[in-house]
Symmetry: C2
Subunit: 402 residues, 2 copies
């Protein structure tokens, strides 16, 4: 069996944790499996490197920033190989060049295009544990690139796909995917199995355990993902295409506080105005999430939508710049909002789900500003101060603790 | 004009020094020259990485150690590119992979074999300063290698040769090559010009300003070397094939305290015994320097020789292991010895040089243990405690301060 294991930066932050990971990998190897390990940079290394860069140049080119940051994972993989060798397990580290991890050319946020598996297969055939740098690749100019947020997860899934691995284990500091964030909802329950689509909706809705790009890729290539703890041997959560039917309507509930609402008021009510607004924002790489359009009044209409808080300033600037062309009379916004989402394939055949969610929020005196739904997700926008209370209320309302 | 500039780790140890180097390179660029910069790892980075490795595994594989160490120069070059960009000078950093700096496969002490210049030329044509990682390369397996001691100097000279650069400037924390170490001999004089051969002999004799591998390569490819300070704009020392004749018999005097003497006593006096001893040591990668064989007595003879202090333990072990086969009756050694060497093309045609040297030492009551000579060098082995006094005495004896 071929297993890809991915460990994040906190799992390799110091000597003790490096050996903890090394021992886990050695155990997998010693029962006869082939093991590929994907690592992030140790602990705060990436942040330290970013600070070094900022000290030299507050606006470094992204090409050079990637050249700097990619050293972080290279240090991790070299030290891990040494740790495994200390445990008398044959191991070899490989970076983005050595694996030939081909990406698009966009520095800082590149996408994986193609992975050469020849070198890795060769090393596995020689019965070595292969340790690969996550987060990084090389573009067609032979320059280093990095994959952006959640990059190492994506590396692991892509490697698992390219190598036709039997499974891809993502090790984190939690035991798996929960019905809600256990720090906010103490009786949240670990989910045994979840579909790619549900996991995608949860990840997009604020659950931080997996990045949606890695889940998308896992779904695309049918890679069985396991999310589990690097600190114990609990089973974790399996993410796959079809899961055994559970009785739950809802798989989980998630909150996303990294949200801001923008309203554009009094735009001319004729076909194409909404398109123009969102097309203009898209051209500036601003992702819009929930959109709500009010019924027209006196020849004008209002449109509200949400963006991530990082994009708020730029979105407002873009709208201001094009205010006249977009026929906007007034722009208002709020940073103090949060999204609460429930996700579950069960809601497809159960019409009462939305009502149950709204009832739970109503019983806790939480006002709903906007509503957005997909086939297996319902999201509401509420005041940020109510987010934790809402999470508990909805989790309880659906009886997710059982 | 194309200039290769090499800066060591202390020249890029912090932000201020990085910008000092960046400004010097920018000045060269702004007068219209093409500039290639070779950098070592910042300050103590390499030592820090070695300590990290040792903490994980006291005997890491050299392959993984090189994987770890090569991150050091990559950090330097990325930050230097950012500094130049901050000064509005177009710059790009390249590592051993990107340059395709091909080396032999021996990790930790590889030799450069071939450098692809295509990428560098392309970047120079686009009027960018190209910043290249020193000390590192890649072998035929696509694994990182490092070049061992003085590696970044060698990288710079090799790049200068491959690019047919007009000169190769080695920046250090001293102003050039001196007639003796100025910290020991205060009236030592900076040498304006020196031949490759003299520089080679000085480097081999303990002058630390240039590593002999880089001088050998400069001689082989006719690269004009300039040794100068990174802290001021003084002219420095030019190392080249032919220098204008100076009146000096002697170019410089050097001391090497990293020396140990070994004597093997009472070996059988027949042909081949000396060969066997040094062949055995060579097979264990132990370099032997001065050799002195006494006249035979009663069918046996004694041989004394020097090795570097790092090699002493292993040399003694090897001799002990093969004691019987090598017909050795007794092994003695001393760590407290030093070599004092005078170097100069002038001694070729001046028979009195050795006498002057011995006289200077005699006048200072310094006993000579062993003597070794080449065409342009005379080396004596003395007690280590006399080394500084000997340096001053010989320097004065030849009037090198004038």
């Amino acid at each position: 069996m071929l297993v890809v294991k991915k460990f994040g930066g906190s799992s390799v932050a110091d000597k003790e944790r490096i050996f903890n990971v090394a021992r886990r990998c050695a155990e997998e190897y010693q029962i006869g499996n082939d093991v590929v390990v994907v690592l992030s940079a140790m602990g705060d290394t990436t942040d330290d490197l970013l600070m070094k860069a900022e000290d030299i140049n507050p606006y470094p080119s992204k090409r050079e920033l990637d050249m700097l940051l990619t050293t972080g994972e290279q240090i991790s993989v070299a030290l891990m190989a040494m740790a495994l060798q200390f445990l008398h397990v044959p191991a070899i580290s490989l970076n983005g060049f050595q694996v030939q991890m081909h990406t698009t050319s966009r520095n800082g946020n590149a996408r994986l295009k193609r992975i050469d598996t020849e070198r890795i297969r060769h090393e596995l055939e020689n019965r070595r544990i292969v340790i690969v740098t996550g987060f990084q690749g090389v573009n067609k100019y032979d320059d280093y690139t990095t994959l952006g947020r959640g990059g190492s997860d994506t590396t692991a899934v892509a490697l698992a796909a390219a190598l036709h691995a039997d499974k891809c284990e993502i090790y984190t500091d939690v035991e798996g995917v929960y019905t809600a964030d256990p720090r906010v909802v103490p009786n949240a329950r670990k989910i045994t199995e979840i579909t790619y689509d549900e996991m995608l909706e949860l990840a997009t809705s604020g659950a931080k355990v997996l990045h949606n790009r890695s889940v998308e890729m896992a779904k695309k290539y049918g890679v069985e993902l396991v999310v589990r703890s690097s600190l114990n041997t609990e089973e974790g959560t399996v993410v796959k295409e079809v899961v055994k039917v559970e009785k739950m309507l809802i798989t989980g509930v998630a909150a996303d506080k990294n949200t801001a609402r923008i309203s554009v008021i009094g735009i001319v009510d004729r076909p194409g105005t909404a398109f123009k607004i969102f097309n203009t924002l898209a051209k500036h790489n601003i992702n819009v999430d929930i959109i709500l359009q009010s019924v027209g009044r006196g020849g004008t209409k209002d449109i509200s939508f949400t963006v991530s808080q990082e994009d708020l300033r730029e979105a407002l600037q873009v709208l201001e710049d094009y205010k006249e062309a977009l026929t906007i009379q007034e722009i208002t916004y709020s940073e103090n909002v949060a999204k609460i989402s429930i996700v579950g394939a069960g809601m497809l055949s159960n019409p009462g789900v939305a009502a149950t969610m709204f009832e739970s929020l109503c019983n806790s005196n939480i006002n709903i500003n906007m509503i957005s739904t997909s086939e297996i997700r319902i999201t509401v926008l509420i005041d940020e101060k109510d987010a934790d209370k809402a999470l508990v209320a909805v989790h309880d309302g659906f009886g997710l603790e059982d």
